[in-house]
């Protein structure tokens, strides 16, 4: 059974757990980030990180160096480190402003695997690659610009600490080199290429039917790229090989993560984590982590992306039978999440063998799922097809 925590009435814009999963940083669609810790069966606020002056869009927590980075619509990023307060000696989270040199909102932020860099996606058609300059004691940023034509909505690092995948509103997912010669060793050749100066484009893939790209993710080996786009499809691209598009009959997926080299978990406007499985020969949807029994809603209407649910059924009954009043007022979905899932991240297990994932969404819930408990999708419309 998934562990379900109702964190807030507001949407959760982003979440990031610390290394031992004892604390989680969240932003509740506001200018502040909250660090929550468990108290009984709930999560309560331990500390509030207040420095941004517009809505925080993304948070990431580096597991080894224990640093938090936040990105916001105020076009800034802050790196937060735990240090003793000079006056009281109490351990506090101290912010350091990062000059990103972007003129639009920051949309997404992720630490690199070695935690010596982080990347910030933005609406300025650019990605800021930030690295620490010990001489001047500040973070410097270098911009990836070409050939991005619109807002970058998501980014993810390749395990080699050099390559970066980015999904953008110009309908493309790309793989860039974010090689910084001052700090990076020369990377070994990968399937994405061998000569990798900064801003090399190692791959560029369009979505199946012209949807902007919401989420990108590298496979654990880094050899395969998957992305979810707003045309209700997910695509799995093998560099130099096939690109598999799976068109979904449901509402679009917006976020995804690989759990093993042949399994992806994706979620979005359909309010449930969907499991995909495959190899370079082909991919398919295999089920959902949400068996539809956890929400306590009466069986009957399916999740939102599927037809004949809550409001749809109400209006259809009113139309076809002239019934408006005696239709059930139960608007609860049968899924655990009651609204769009905006983030799915690995929670338990090791890279390549993820046993649990965490999701947060617009309904203010934080849910931890076992990746092994996959159930078949029921009440779904249509059939899947590969192309």
């Amino acid at each position: 059974m998934p562990q379900v925590y109702s964190i807030s009435q507001n949407p959760i814009t982003a979440h990031a757990f610390n290394a031992d999963r004892s604390q989680v940083a969240v932003s509740l669609n506001s200018n502040d980030a909250q660090i929550l810790g468990p108290s009984g069966s709930e999560w309560t606020t331990i500390e509030t990180l207040a420095e941004h002056d517009k809505v925080i869009t993304s948070i990431d927590w580096a597991p080894n160096s224990n640093q938090i980075v936040t990105a916001s619509q105020d076009r800034n990023a802050y790196v937060w480190q735990q240090t003793p307060d000079p006056e009281t000696g109490k351990i506090i989270w101290k912010p350091t402003l990062v000059l990103l040199r972007i003129n639009r909102a920051a949309t997404h932020v992720r630490w690199s695997p070695k935690e010596d860099k982080f990347a910030v996606a933005s609406g300025a058609r650019a990605i800021a690659i930030c690295s620490f300059d010990p001489e001047n004691n500040w973070w410097v940023s270098k911009l990836l610009k070409k050939p991005i034509r619109s807002t970058v909505l998501s980014i993810e690092w390749h395990p080699n600490n050099v390559l970066l995948a980015a999904g953008s509103a110009d309908m493309k997912a790309r793989v860039f080199s974010a090689y910084i010669k001052e700090i990076d060793e020369r990377p070994a050749a990968t399937v994405w290429g061998s000569k990798l100066p900064f801003n090399t484009i190692c791959g560029e893939y369009a979505s199946a039917a012209g949807g902007w790209v919401h989420g990108v993710a590298f496979s654990p080996s880094g050899d395969v790229l998957a992305f979810a786009s707003h045309d209700s499809s997910i695509s799995i691209a093998y560099p130099g090989g096939p690109v598999h598009h799976i068109r979904m009959p449901t509402l679009p997926l917006v976020t995804l993560t690989w759990t093993t080299e042949d399994t992806i978990i994706a979620a979005g406007h359909d309010c449930q984590p969907i499991v995909f499985s495959g190899s370079d020969a082909g991919w398919q949807e295999v089920g959902t982590l949400d068996d539809g029994s956890g929400s306590g809603a009466k069986a009957g209407p399916g999740p939102v992306g599927r037809l004949k649910t809550g409001a749809f059924a109400t209006f259809q009954n009113a139309d076809s039978r002239g019934q408006g009043s005696n239709v059930s007022n139960d608007t609860k979905l049968t899924t655990v999440h009651q609204n769009t899932i905006t983030s799915v991240r690995p929670y338990g297990g090791a890279a390549g063998q993820v046993t649990q994932v965490s999701t947060t969404g617009v309904d203010g819930k934080l849910v931890i799922w076992d990746t092994a408990s996959v159930s078949a999708l029921t009440g779904r419309m249509g059939a899947m097809s590969m192309s």
Partner: protein, 153 residues
């Protein structure tokens, strides 16, 4: 409140503005060729319809549908061809016809249904019953793809 500024085309002041042509791969065919193909399709659809082969006619009409700029005439012919098929299908057959289409054809059909509904003098009841049956088979995802795809028919 002063609202006139909202009508200013701010993109005109942006040197690096994103162009429509950058959002999708252009049709590699020449507009004249697209037009000829649309006319040829119209003829073969007519002969298929006279043999009562609705599925064959629909597959032919939806294959290689014209999209993008400079092919307005071909688009008009293709739409008329398609509406001809939709109007001559018995409403009890629609489900079976829709189920036999490929996913690509279903997506293209949905585009034509919305384009048809946007016309002033369309036969809305026919289009709506096709829309209902197509959505039952292809799901809401098919509608979403019609909304996002810039390769408009």
């Amino acid at each position: 409140m002063e609202v006139a500024f909202r009508k200013i085309d701010i993109d005109a002041f942006d040197e690096d503005v994103i162009q429509e042509s950058e959002l999708y791969e252009a049709d590699p065919r020449d507009p004249a060729q697209v037009f000829e193909e649309a006319k040829a399709r119209q003829a073969s659809v007519r002969s298929l319809l006279s043999k009562n082969d609705i599925v064959g006619a629909l597959v032919t009409a939806l294959d290689n549908a014209p999209y993008g700029p400079n092919v307005e005439e071909a688009k008009t012919i293709s739409l008329q061809t398609l509406l001809g098929i939709l109007n001559s299908t018995k409403s009890t057959d629609i489900s079976n016809v829709v189920q036999s289409l490929t996913m690509d054809s279903q997506d293209t059909l949905m585009k034509y249904l919305y384009k048809g509904m946007a016309m002033a003098d369309s036969n809305a009841s026919v289009l709506l019953s096709w829309h209902e049956k197509l959505t039952e088979v292809a799901g809401t995802g098919c509608i979403v793809r019609t909304m996002t795809d810039r390769r408009t028919v």
